[in-house]
Assembly symmetry: C2
Homo-oligomer: 254 residues x 2
């Protein structure tokens, strides 16, 4: 059966897009049938796979908008996986969706039509708890929360995110579970050490064992329009994300 | 006269909060009467000044909510400046504000009452173009756009942000101007060099001459609840932000 996983954290720049890109690319290389969905108007996941949002015939804008089209019509194949791209126009869509009936479950309905074609669908969320993120959580079996361990601010928003996940579980999607907390951008500073200790204390078994270290190759890969495995397969960044992906595969029972 | 400046970029983790905190702290030390407003539910600006949002009697939630209170009632004095703190509950407020008449200019009306008491008011925005950011742009004379030069994704969202600034200028606030683009977190990598070149090519004179270099003291200061000037006044981070602040003072005619 298909597993749907969201990658979400309201804090900006915690490695959400890099995590979705890397996990999906690894799983596709392992032979899983994988799709990724870009729900951030910033379209970073789309750009990171070498797709220019301006060149597209369709995007998640067209899939989520009131006069919508099926999601498979916007899919683009890249690195052995399928990408449902985003577009900046989604910024304007947010206000429109808020007043519709059933606005929280638009994406879930769209995914029902394609779930049989995939083993894994991963959703990249914007840095907020807006209607796009709520749609992602309503459509998901699991959520991964990346935490930037080099940032002191990392811990504050997590409580609110967990509260919102609770709310989604009770009101809209009882299947939703936190798959795990992923520590990213570890840069061997005192702050990193303190954050890692605190995250392990607060979240215990939820924390993935693999810590993603800061690695310049990870920030260069998007410029080449390919995942870390396409750009620098023997780098530390590729190793770390391969190990994290294996933990995700095991926990999600893929 | 009082200058109101917003710090905004939809991309997460570009240094918005660090820039507001540092510019405000420098200007307060130089003797200007300064207030900062935290419009991000993440409350990072609030936390960075050592204030625990859970301990507060009031926050920007109470100021912007329909049954609102004056902004001076929530101000907290820190490091010689006044802070209007944020609170996570603002996440729920977003949906409520969207349907109100005049929802874009709530903050502007609140600031009119206090502008005579300050030379400079700086607003920290969340990483999105939501109702809080629109309120900030409608209340501002200027906007500063921090761009993380170590991130390939840095350039994509800027066009949309400039488009939205144009829209706000035409529809809601003809005074609004882009004060400048600030290059942050420069880390001497190839990517940084490429982004700096591209930003200078696209934005020319708008780009501040001072480039903020990556400096671990800047990521440690929030843990001490004080600005970079309170924590490590002789660090490279303090030097860079002092120079940027002097450029801002000059351009804004403070
Ligand atoms: N482990 C890492 N080492 C080095 N650079 C990294 C690492 N992880 C992410 N980056 C870089 O840091 C920046 C932020 O990461 P990313 O864009 O994935 O975060 P995000 O949470 O998706 O941001 P947003 O909140 O804007 O959506 C990007 O430029 C990315 O290339
Ligand atoms: N020049 C710098 N050198 C080192 N660390 C920095 C620098 N500027 C910011 N940081 C750190 O990087 C992280 C991101 O910065 P910051 O929180 O200011 O960005 P932001 O744009 O406000 O993020 P968000 O989009 O979540 O609001 C923080 O942990 C901050 O302490
Ligand atoms: Mg992202
Ligand atoms: Mg911030």
């Amino acid at each position: 059966t298909c597993r749907v996983i969201s990658c979400s954290n309201m804090k900006g720049g915690t490695g959400k897009t890099t995590t979705v890109n890397s996990l999906a690319a690894h799983c596709a290389r392992k032979g899983f049938r994988v799709a990724v969905i870009d729900l951030d108007p910033q379209s970073n996941l789309t750009i990171g796979f070498g797709v220019d949002p301006q060149d597209l015939k369709g995007s998640m804008y067209d899939v989520l908008a009131p006069q919508s089209i099926p999601i498979e019509q916007v899919m683009v194949e890249k690195e052995g996986l399928f990408l449902a791209p985003a577009h900046m126009d989604m910024v304007r869509l947010e206000m429109q969706l808020v007043s519709l009936y059933g606005r929280e479950t638009i994406l879930n309905k769209k995914l029902l039509a394609i779930k049989d074609n995939y083993d894994l669908i991963i959703i990249d969320c914007p840095p907020s708890l807006n209607i796009f993120t709520i749609n992602a959580l309503c459509a998901s079996d699991y959520v991964i929360i990346p935490i930037q361990c080099s940032s002191y601010y990392a811990l504050y928003g997590i409580a609110q995110l967990l509260e919102s996940i609770n709310w989604v579980q009770q009101e809209l999607n009882p299947n939703l579970e936190v798959l795990g907390v992923a520590l990213t951008m570890e840069n061997r500073t005192r702050i990193s050490g303190q954050i890692i200790e605190e995250v392990n204390r607060q979240f215990e078994k939820l924390v993935f064992k693999t810590v993603i270290r800061q690695n310049v190759k990870l920030s260069e890969a998007p410029a080449m329009g390919t995942s870390i495995f396409g750009y620098a397969a023997s780098s530390q960044g590729a190793d770390d994300y391969a190990r994290l992906a294996e933990e995700v595969v095991k926990r999600a029972g893929l």
